[in-house]
């Protein structure tokens, strides 16, 4: 007969109450794990997305930095345009390693998504775009036959959705243009997978934006030159310069309020769980006042009683922890889905990253929570006087 066994058997006496308390703790733990998992996963995915952009700096027309950050990561349309003179002006800067002009346009396709309608994203690029992204590979086909050919290279997912193969023709709705699929990229795990690429000149022609660009991606030879390079470009009128660090900061700012809210919810959930466990155990202590008195009469010290009651709390929290961790692991896809629906920008890749270290830490936090929650009831029980406790129900 061990204190642990006494504690465990006592919890089994009031099964529903015990299970409900365990579920309460489990929910708090699941929230905690999901929150920290999201924190880690989001930052990792964001960094990954930014690294895969392949450039250090994006030059865009002056406007909202949030919009520009979105353009940088999502290739969003409906943006401001700048003259391609800017491109010509900075093209020969000796600090530049690689530079790629882009023109992004989105076209509404009524037939898209099985007749529900969807925006198709087109990006006008030059071959330099591939230099920025050396990991890009063709699944089939290859580069455009000429700088102003009516051809398209489809991102992996764009081709999958449209079910296109090299040689097929695609129709650009609204502007009545037919393009021939010249190539299909391999999956990159980035936003590029959903884009239809066309030659920059062709894009400027068909979207009637001659000499216009939405952005210029720049990779510097030496990252240390970034600050000076940015400063030099500040003098160029009508443009803004966005560095990767800024984008990272901008996106994190955007999700900051969501994170603060999630943090508050997690704290509240943990607080409620602690109160609920304390309440359950305290109720159980009051119900067992006579038993506690008898145990003292049988030789139990205050420490023995404290240990038994504390163990009950810790057991509840351990079971709650296991339950919560399981819920967090199996429910991470659901959490990810909700986050993607609510956040203004969600990077590609897994948003909720649950590592063993996080599970171990959350589990430890649950045990600590048990220790805190159990202290008062355990103290209360251990300080009962045997005679008063035994005679309490008479």
């Amino acid at each position: 007969m061990k204190a642990l066994s006494v504690a465990y058997k006592n919890l089994k006496r009031k099964k529903i109450r015990t299970v409900l308390t365990i579920v309460g703790v489990g929910v708090a733990v699941a929230v905690l794990v999901s929150l920290f998992g999201f924190d880690a996963g989001y930052q990792r995915s964001l960094n990954n997305d930014i690294d895969k952009l392949g450039y250090h700096i994006l030059v865009t027309a002056k406007g909202c930095p949030y919009e520009a950050a979105t353009l940088m990561l999502k290739g969003g349309g409906g943006l401001r345009y700048m003259e391609d003179d800017v491109y010509k002006r900075i093209l020969n800067d000796s600090r530049i390693d690689k530079i790629a002009p882009q023109l992004v346009a989105s076209v509404y396709n009524q037939e898209g998504q099985g007749g529900r309608g969807a925006f198709a994203l087109y990006m006008g690029i030059e071959k330099t775009y591939l230099y920025l992204k050396p990991w890009s590979e063709f699944k089939s086909g290859g580069w455009f036959s000429g700088p102003d050919s009516d051809e398209a290279i489809m991102g992996y997912e764009a081709a999958e959705v449209e079910q296109r193969l090299v040689g097929d023709q695609i129709f650009v709705p609204g502007i009545n243009k037919v393009l021939t699929v010249k190539g299909i990229f391999q999956r990159t795990g980035t936003q590029d997978d959903g884009i239809i690429f066309i030659p920059l000149s062709t894009a400027q022609n068909i979207f009637e934006l001659p000499g216009k660009l939405t952005g210029i991606g720049i990779k510097l030879k030496n990252i240390q030159d970034m600050a000076q390079f940015e400063e030099d470009l500040y003098n160029v009128p009508g443009i803004q310069v966005i560095s990767l660090a800024q984008v990272r900061g901008t996106i994190l700012n955007l999700v900051g309020s969501a994170r603060a809210m999630a943090n508050s919810i997690a704290l509240i959930a943990i607080f409620i769980a602690i109160i609920s466990v304390t309440n359950t155990i305290l109720m159980s202590v009051f119900e067992r006042t006579r038993e506690i008195g008898v145990m003292k009469a049988l030789g139990a010290s205050a420490a023995d009683i404290f240990k038994i009651i504390w163990m009950e709390t810790i057991l509840i929290c351990i079971f709650g922890g296991i339950f919560g961790v399981a819920v967090a692991m199996f429910g991470s896809s659901a959490v990810e889905y909700i986050i993607r629906q609510t956040l203004p920008y969600a990077p590609t890749g897994k948003l909720v990253l649950i590592k063993p270290a996080l599970l171990a830490l959350s589990f430890l936090a649950t045990v600590v929570m048990g220790l805190i929650a159990g202290t008062y009831p355990a103290l209360r029980a251990s300080l009962m006087k045997p005679v008063e406790a035994i005679r309490s129900g008479e």
Binding site: M295, A297, A300
Partner: protein, 229 residues
């Protein structure tokens, strides 16, 4: 000469209530020797239970002196009283007070756990067999009759091989047949094992089995001829 297990000198116990002070037992002198079988009798509220609680170190005394095995424990700390309860004194209560979530065997093992003694299952089963419950070791209290519960309670008290067994109205909740069985167990424990037993009871039959009878009234021990019993 027999060893004096309990010696009470002018033992007084007062309970302080918000409005008044209650003198539950007053100036009791009592010697309990090894092998004694004492029945404490008296009307309800006379102080029998308080006297048992006091000599059983379940509560501290207010005035007077109390010696357990020659050691003065009148003002002893709770830790000392715990040690005495763990090793020397056992209790049997009117309401059995078994732990409902534990089987008969586990209830009997519990005092060994608290006393930090080896939890020999064989020994626990032996004492259960001794009280006639060898076939009910794995039953929960809810699966036992009143008489069986009280026998588990006695087995639980015996498992630490105490010097003194204190029983507070042990037959109070039992029918005549079960009461008789408990009487027999007590008698056997005293006569065959020489266990010192002090029983607080209303039951005159159980009282008559004891070697000595103490009558208590209004918190004092009174001569038998003056008692109203």
């Amino acid at each position: 000469m027999k060893e004096c297990i309990i010696k009470a000198e002018k033992l007084t116990k007062t309970y302080k209530l918000p409005a008044e002070k209650i003198l539950a037992v007053r100036e009791i002198d009592l010697d309990i020797y090894d092998g004694d079988f004492i029945a404490i009798m008296g009307p309800s509220g006379s102080g029998k239970t308080t006297l048992l609680d006091s000599i059983g170190c379940l509560t501290t005394i207010s005035e007077g002196k109390l010696f357990i095995l020659g050691k003065d424990v009148s003002r002893a700390k709770e830790s000392t009283l715990v040690t005495i309860r763990r090793r020397f004194i056992s209790f049997v209560f009117q309401d059995f007070l078994l732990i409902p979530s534990l089987t008969a065997l586990e209830n009997v093992l519990l005092p060994l756990h608290f006393a930090r003694l080896p939890q020999e299952q064989r020994k626990a089963v032996e004492v259960l067999k001794r009280v006639g419950l060898g076939h009910r070791v794995n039953h929960l209290p809810s699966q036992l009759s009143g008489g069986e519960k009280q026998r588990v309670s006695i087995a639980r008290a015996l498992v630490i091989s105490p010097k003194l067994l204190l029983a507070d109205e042990p037959t109070g909740n039992l029918d005549t047949k079960n009461s008789q069985e408990i009487f027999d167990i007590f008698k056997q424990l005293n006569e065959q094992d020489g266990l010192t037993i002090v029983v607080a009871t209303h039951n005159s039959k159980l009282g008559s089995l004891a070697k000595r009878m103490i009558i208590i009234q209004d918190g004092r021990i009174i001569p038998r001829e003056k008692s109203i019993l």
